[in-house]
């Protein structure tokens, strides 16, 4: 089995060995079908064009297939009652999460189902959310048969677990309807009002004048009821909590403007501003809708995780030892379950019997499998790829690691209400300034010309309507956070982006962030041929370092082949020392240096140097003499030094606080030119916390960001101004972090910081623009220069300027704008 790249979708997958170079290879039947369909029609140019949607980080796929127990669940009345809807014509409709979807070929294949499978009436696939909607005739086919049909192509259907999915998409739809109605009203009111600006008045044609006036009034009532109530409700809720949010001045502006216009309409005196008010409502509602949509994207990503959990489990009955298939929901802590090769674990647990390999791709995005044995911890959602296991359940449902990740994202959404610090701070000031200006205007005009006092005050309140100011921050931040999410960076709260922009100190935890987070061969001393012989032997070992040696030998073109394996004999693994055996008739031993008696001096020195650099030396002996020393270690990521230099050039101080051995930490710090003053090796969780707190108290204006992944970082992440959890982190670090990275390494950290800086630049640009607008507007209104015409033009122009400036930002530069976000990619292919 070797890794190949699908000629159609670009996915890396494990395929046959040594395919002919010129022949196309495919990951699935869907891709193959599409490839030849395109090729035969002479449309190969498609492959030059499709880069825009191909996944940016392809991963190997383990073909999931369909498990019979899982499938039978689809026919159970309980499932159908809960998830499916029966339509009037006797057909049924259901939405399922479809695992294994990653390219256009998959849509093509899946949506062809109605023609190929009797009884299926419709199949629609949503690529981004990997969700399929099936309508079928239950008299002619069972849902389980449909699932099996999909399974033969490597697609696994899963029930959608979360109930919030439906309510979320309903809330989004309701808001979109409001937006649509409000814009329809707004544009029509604008058109009608043009007649007034063009000179139509009661004297010229009183019949037409009043018709237009009353029509715009009626339309504005629609906008008020459908749209503005959203702001009124939130403003009241905020006032009850004793807070001045942006909703307060917005509501005030709308209410005062509409009230005065209505009064003017029916008394026939004063100005009418219905057009300004309806546009304002529509524009602000649009901003809010975009925010809702952005939030639900993050929640969908988390829901997919839970859908991947299996519905059933094989429980071992305590007394008799027989195996019983039970719904996963009924598992309890302490139950023993049997997990066969190919199964996904239904709950978190500890292995109590057997050994195997698990793929944690769902949780960590790491496609390499990890060996597990007795006493190892395995998590729900991971897949057992080899050997049967008996697992004692330690957590089920929401208490599992996946469940907690869900909760984290849910809390992210709940946390959204008190966002937008800068705008909220400003809105308090703003409301005070506007009210003061209104009072001043009223008093001043009371002396100058009391007949114009009311009109001018209301003009001021309407023109000062914080339309642009209200949208400036949330819109810019939402668009920025949305762009970040499409790059696999999930920002928990909008205000984090503001704090991150002013970050002065970044604390890194070494493992997995600055380094690759897995052992690799760094260097080989001595006889390379001997080293490759040693690597052959490592195939029989489960030791963590063995995988490093195997990867190295594969990369150097000496992949162990079946022919070689026949020549390996008498393999014996000595715990804590190494492994020995006969390879090609020669006696080979691989292990720690102290295990060998005969070590040449030069190699001994190389080994010492290796240790000094923070790596582990592994000796390879041929016929009793050590001939090579292989340095294995967690190597620095290629991009790490460049990115740290970039951060430094922006005046960010880099700290390295790690629980690793002080010698190792010091070596890494030296390689990266980190000031020894800011390096702290062998730190306990308490010391990490203390370090962060000390740093924060050091100088008052400091903003500290902590990047970590381990459970030992959780407290420090919480203590830091901004906690950033990197992919593969433990649940505790997720819970206390403000930002969650869907990708590993240091690159996303730099991307996040750069993106936040650009986003905040847009926010400031918006605030400055709308502030300037308000300054001029209020001054002119106070002096009595603002006519309704001017107000009507200025209002939408200023708002549109803000909307445009927010939408065109490119804060998180994305090469593949339409591609599914990286989180979904890893999960779907997992």
């Amino acid at each position: 089995m070797s890794l190949q790249t699908c000629s159609h979708c670009g996915l890396r997958f494990r395929g046959r060995d040594n395919p002919p170079e010129t022949e196309p290879v495919f990951c699935c039947a869907g891709c193959e079908a599409v490839y030849y369909a395109l090729h035969d029609s002479g449309l190969d140019e498609f492959y030059d064009r499709r880069e825009s949607w191909s996944v940016d980080e392809p991963r190997p796929v383990e073909q999931p297939g369909v498990n019979d127990d899982e499938v039978s669940l689809f026919d159970s009345p309980a499932f159908l009652n809960e998830q499916a809807t029966r339509l009037d014509d006797g057909t049924m409709k259901v939405q399922l999460h479809l695992e294994g979807v990653h390219c256009a070929g998959c849509i093509w294949l899946v949506e062809r189902m109605p023609r190929l499978v009797d009884g299926v009436i419709e199949a629609r696939l949503e690529l981004t959310r990997a969700r399929i909607t099936i309508r079928w005739n239950p008299q002619r086919i069972l849902l389980s048969e449909i699932a099996t049909w999909l399974g033969q192509f490597g697609f696994t259907p899963h029930p959608i677990r979360s109930h919030s999915v439906k309510s979320r998409s309903k809330a989004g739809r309701r808001m979109l309807m409001r937006v649509g109605i409000c814009w329809a009203v707004a544009v029509n009111v604008m058109l009608l009002t043009i007649a007034h600006y063009a000179g139509l008045d009661a004297a010229a044609d009183s019949g037409l004048y009043y018709t237009v006036l009353y029509t715009t009034f009626a339309l504005s009532v629609v906008s008020l009821v459908v749209g503005a109530t959203v702001f009124f409700r939130r403003a009241i809720a905020n006032l009850k909590m004793g807070k001045l949010s942006m909703d307060v001045p917005i509501s005030l502006g709308i209410a005062v403007g509409w009230g005065h216009s209505t009064w003017a309409t029916f008394t026939g005196s004063g100005e009418v501003w219905f057009d300004s008010i309806v546009i304002l409502t529509a524009a602000l509602l649009t901003a809010r809708y975009l925010q809702i949509r952005g939030n639900s994207m993050a929640a969908d990503a988390a829901d997919r995780l839970v859908s991947l959990l299996p519905q059933t489990a094989r429980r071992i009955v305590e007394d008799t030892g027989e195996i019983q298939t039970v719904p996963a929901d009924t598992l309890e802590v302490g139950d023993r379950i049997r997990v066969l090769a190919g199964d996904v674990l239904p709950a978190d647990g500890r292995v109590i019997d057997g050994s195997g390999q698990v793929s944690r791709a769902v949780l960590t995005g790491e496609s390499d499998t990890t060996p597990v044995g007795v006493d190892d911890v395995v998590e729900a959602g991971t897949r057992n790829v080899a050997g049967p296991l008996v697992v004692q359940v330690t957590a089920t449902g929401d208490a599992t690691r996946v469940g907690r990740l869900m909760e984290w994202v849910d809390s992210e959404i709940a946390d959204r209400a008190p966002v937008v610090q800068l705008a909220d701070r400003l809105s308090g000031v703003f409301v005070a300034v506007v009210l003061a200006a209104a009072v001043a205007t009223a008093v001043a005009w009371g002396f100058i010309d009391s007949s114009r006092a009311v009109a001018n005050v209301v003009a001021l309140l309407v023109i000062a309507c914080p339309c642009a100011l209200g949208m400036a921050t949330p819109l810019a931040l939402t668009v920025g956070a949305g762009q970040a999410a499409s790059r696999g960076i999930h920002v928990k709260r909008d205000d984090v982006m503001e704090s991150l922009n002013g970050v002065t100190d970044v604390i890194f935890d070494k493992t997995g962030t600055l380094t690759y987070g897995r052992p690799d061969v760094v260097e080989v001393f001595g006889n390379t041929e001997a080293a490759t012989l040693g690597c052959q032997l490592e195939r029989h070992s489960n030791h963590p370092l063995a995988s490093a040696l195997l990867r190295w030998s594969r990369d150097h073109g000496v992949a162990p082949t079946p022919q070689h394996s026949s020549a390996i004999d008498d393999v014996e693994e000595v715990a804590g020392a190494g492994i020995r055996g006969i390879v090609d008739g020669r006696e080979i031993a691989v292990g720690r240096l102290s295990w060998f008696c005969d070590v040449p001096d030069s190699l001994r020195q190389d080994a010492r140097r290796t240790t000094a650099r923070g790596f582990t030396p592994v000796g390879v002996a041929v016929d009793g003499t050590v001939q090579a020393v292989i340095a294995v270690g967690d190597e620095l990521r290629e991009e790490t030094p460049r990115i740290l230099n970039e951060l430094r050039s922006r005046g960010v101080r880099i700290h390295l606080v790690s629980g690793d051995h002080p010698q190792v930490v010091a070596t890494v710090a030296e390689q990266l030119h980190i000031d020894p003053e800011y390096v702290f090796g062998g730190a306990t969780p308490e010391q990490k916390l203390e370090y962060v707190e000390q740093l924060r108290n050091d100088t008052d204006a400091k903003t500290v960001a902590m990047v970590g992944d381990g459970v030992n970082d959780a407290a420090a992440l919480q203590a830091a101004d901004i906690g950033i959890a990197v992919h593969g982190g433990t649940e505790a670090s997720l819970a206390s972090a403000d930002v969650f990275m869907g990708k590993q390494g240091v690159e996303p950290v730099a991307e996040l910081l750069a993106g936040c800086r650009r986003t905040m630049h847009v926010v400031r640009r918006n605030l400055a623009g709308s502030g300037l607008y308000n300054l001029f507007g209020i001054s002119l209104a106070a002096m009595g220069y603002i006519t309704p015409l001017l107000a009507a033009i200025l209002m939408p122009v200023s708002s549109l300027a803000v909307v445009g400036s927010s939408l065109i930002q490119n804060s998180f530069r994305s090469e593949a704008p339409a591609a599914t976000d990286s989180i979904s990619t890893t999960e779907v292919t997992a």
Binding site: A37, L127, R129, L208
Partner: protein, 47 residues
């Protein structure tokens, strides 16, 4: 200008139809997924 007494209600009626169609489309879920249809056009419908 009396034609406006006919045209304005007519225009509003048209707008109401457009809004009704939009509401139907939203309820139908046509705005739920904005990415897949872009890919779907690549496929031939004929058999």
């Amino acid at each position: 200008m009396s034609v406006l007494y006919l045209l304005v209600p007519l225009a509003l009626l048209l707008a109401a139809c457009a809004v009704a169609t939009f509401l139907w489309a939203v309820r139908d879920g046509q705005f739920d997924d904005l990415d897949t249809p872009a890919v779907r056009v690549l496929f031939d419908d004929e058999e």
